[in-house]
């Protein structure tokens, strides 16, 4: 089974829509900025989407107001996504298109605000009484309502692998004949829970993050939204790319520390290659999880060395966007597809002194090269791992 990938898009600190993101990557210009959130006094850098606060939801959907849904809506309006969805509905029927969205924290920023303004009775103030917002499925509800898609709608929340796993579920749904197409996506927005939560684990860097650099000292939190239309191959005849395989695994080790031998990561990558029916040595590019935390990068490098030679180009793009958590999977899937589209591998930004202890080295400068097969990794808390493999549709 392979799926056609139709229209896709991504919005992050590195750009609203594909054109801005492409320019930022080709010019090696990071979207990160010093933390300027009023409600947060942490000394760090963040990947904030500019002017997100000013995005107005459609009149009929104002009851779903939250920063996360503003980001979901901003993202849907880029790169002709809404037109492509409308065309798909018209052609195959709104009930034959499912919706699967990944998020780690959903609309929690809105819940945080409600708690900062609780009434003396302990209840949320009336303007915050939004049942469809203060729950995990808020982005799935928003996207289904905003697009009018009427197939099954599900939100996946497995921390930082959430919106990589949307591709796996979509492949199963379509292969099974449950639906003919799925709008997959991921949305995660800046919130205090994540900033102070990662701070409590001493994982937030006061500097710009430096993936795979020996001086790396933690992550920068970012926000992002991305979407892709996945469908049976005969449903999208002009598709450029295909989803060839996915891998999903568990570490069985620790809630917030990866397996020391990279066992879960190796399993996810091997499974994805098996499903795609290709050998590791034909993978031309891997977009890494590469968070710039001490543990992640060390263990991801260890896992890569077990499967790949250094002829395989691999890089982290987190220094452009920050770690977009539950939206990292779709954001980096889209970055990977764009790398394949233009034949330009983004070299790891800020990796000036590669960690000499690593058994596998990442690419540091942008490289121009045609890419036949590419892969992306997403690893999350709870030891939850997902890997995706992409190829060209006409290959």
């Amino acid at each position: 089974m392979r799926l056609a990938i139709g229209q896709y898009t991504a919005t992050s600190a590195a750009g609203t829509g594909l054109v801005e993101m492409r320019e930022a990557i080709h010019e090696r210009r990071s979207g990160l900025r010093r933390n300027d959130l009023e409600a947060c006094d942490l000394d760090t850098w963040i990947g904030r989407v500019a002017n997100l606060e000013e995005v107005a939801l459609p009149d009929s959907l104002t009851y779903l107001h939250s920063r996360n849904n503003q980001l979901a809506w901003l993202g849907l309006q880029q790169d002709g996504m809404l037109d492509a969805i409308a065309e798909l509905k018209q052609r195959i029927g709104s009930d034959r298109v499912g919706v699967i969205i990944g998020t780690s924290t959903s609309s929690i920023a809105r819940t945080e605000e409600a708690y900062a303004n609780l009434l003396p009775s302990g209840a949320m103030p009336p303007e915050y009484c939004q049942p469809e917002v203060h729950n995990l499925h808020s982005p799935g509800i928003f996207v289904s309502e905003a697009t009018g898609l009427e197939g099954p709608s599900m939100t996946i929340s497995t921390a930082c692998s959430s919106s990589a796993k949307v591709f796996a579920s979509a492949m199963r749904w379509i292969s099974h004949g449950l639906v003919d197409a799925v709008l997959v996506g991921g949305v995660d927005s800046l919130c205090m829970s994540i900033l102070y939560g990662f701070n409590s684990l001493e994982l937030v860097s006061p500097d710009l993050c430096r993936p795979f650099d020996e001086r790396r000292n933690g992550i920068n939190i970012g926000e992002s939204c991305g979407y892709a239309i996945l469908a049976k191959e005969d449903m999208i005849t002009d598709a450029q790319f295909s989803l060839l395989g996915y891998g999903e695994s568990s570490d069985a080790y620790h809630m917030s520390h990866p397996h020391p031998d990279g066992k879960g990561a190796v399993l996810a990558m091997s499974q994805a290659l098996d499903r795609a029916g290709i050998a590791p040595n034909v993978i031309d590019y891997i977009n890494l999880h590469g968070t710039a935390s001490q543990a992640n990068d060390r263990i991801e490098a260890l896992a890569l060395a077990q499967l790949f030679s250094e002829h395989t180009l691999a890089s982290s793009t987190k220094a452009w966007t920050g770690h977009a958590l539950g939206a990292a999977g779709i954001l980096e899937a889209v970055i990977t597809l764009e790398a394949m589209r233009y034949g330009i591998v983004p070299g790891t930004l800020n990796c000036d002194q590669p960690d000499p202890d690593f058994a596998f080295h990442v690419v540091r400068e942008n490289v121009q090269r045609p890419l036949r097969y590419a892969m992306t990794n997403s690893f999350g808390f709870g030891g939850n791992n997902a890997t995706l493999v992409f190829g060209h549709a006409d290959d």
Partner: protein, 279 residues
């Protein structure tokens, strides 16, 4: 004109194990007894044996409930818990931890507990399960808000069929803390798990289940009473009619809400199940 959901296919899976927990019933046997008229004694005791005692003290209630019912379902089915994929679902997530996080953030944000933070991920239960059982199998954590039960069963059944593996689906909802009562007024915590296996003619499951998406509005405010306690405000308890049908060996069909306009239609059959098919 094209018929709605005309292309939706039927999916057949076997239910090979069940787990259930609330303050009214601690397991499947007690659940069946309470349905049969035995008087329920409320108890919040919850000691999932699968989690080592030290870890158990640190584990949040949401995790303990999930692991308890997941373990029950695997034991009933007699399967190795490390060999099953997992799909966890909750509409609201761990409201107790959200309550803690949001209160702390509103007062002393730098004092957020790192343990509570990493326990706040929606996949905490499947993470603890993977650690406790040594399982490297795929683990999912999903939500469909008030429709979480139907979407989780659909996801798990499709995965079991497509990947030809047993999938353990667990649904749960906690009692809502005070600020959440304006948006979700679940009063009692509830958790249930089903071990779904690819339908194989040779096996002896508790029940076989055909599911299909259909266009139908299902009233989710209909009362779900168990001995005077109303579970209709607990999204996970949407599964009660299905559990009751399995308990009663009742082959009737039923529908659970999947969206405002759609439902997941279930037809249960017990032909291949031995007459004494329970724990």
């Amino acid at each position: 004109m094209r018929r709605w959901f005309s292309g939706m296919r039927m999916t057949r899976v076997d239910i090979s194990g069940v787990g259930v927990w609330s303050e009214q019933f601690a397991n499947w046997e007690e659940f069946r007894a309470v349905l049969g008229g035995s008087e329920a004694v409320l108890s919040s005791a919850l000691k999932p044996e699968l989690i080592p005692p030290k870890e158990r003290r640190r584990a949040p209630q949401a995790v303990k409930m999930a692991i308890e019912v997941m373990d029950q379902a695997c034991q009933m089915a007699g399967v190795d818990p490390s060999g099953v994929a997992t799909v966890f679902a909750s509409g609201m997530g761990d409201m107790q931890i959200t309550d803690y996080m949001c209160r702390t953030l509103a007062s002393t944000p730098r004092l957020v507990s790192p343990t509570r933070f990493h326990n706040s991920v929606h996949n905490a239960s499947t993470g603890y399960w993977s650690i406790a059982t040594g399982s490297h199998a795929p683990a999912n954590a999903v939500s469909g808000y008030s429709h979480s039960v139907a979407i989780a069963i659909l996801e798990a059944a499709v995965q079991a069929s497509e990947e030809n593996i047993p999938v353990l689906v667990v649904v749960e909802e906690l009692a809502a803390p005070q600020p959440f009562k304006s948006v979700c007024d679940a009063e009692l915590a509830f958790a249930a798990a089903l071990l779904l296996s690819p339908s194989v003619a040779a096996s002896s499951p508790m029940a076989s289940m055909d599911i299909k998406v259909c266009r139908s509005e299902v009233d989710i405010s209909a009362p779900l009473q168990v001995q005077g306690i109303d579970y209709s405000t607990n999204f996970a308890a949407n599964i009660l009619p299905l559990l009751s049908a399995v308990a009663a060996q009742d082959a009737a069909g039923l529908k659970l809400p999947l969206s405002r306009r759609t439902a997941l239609q279930f037809s249960l059959s017990m032909e291949r199940a031995p007459r004494t098919a329970h724990a």
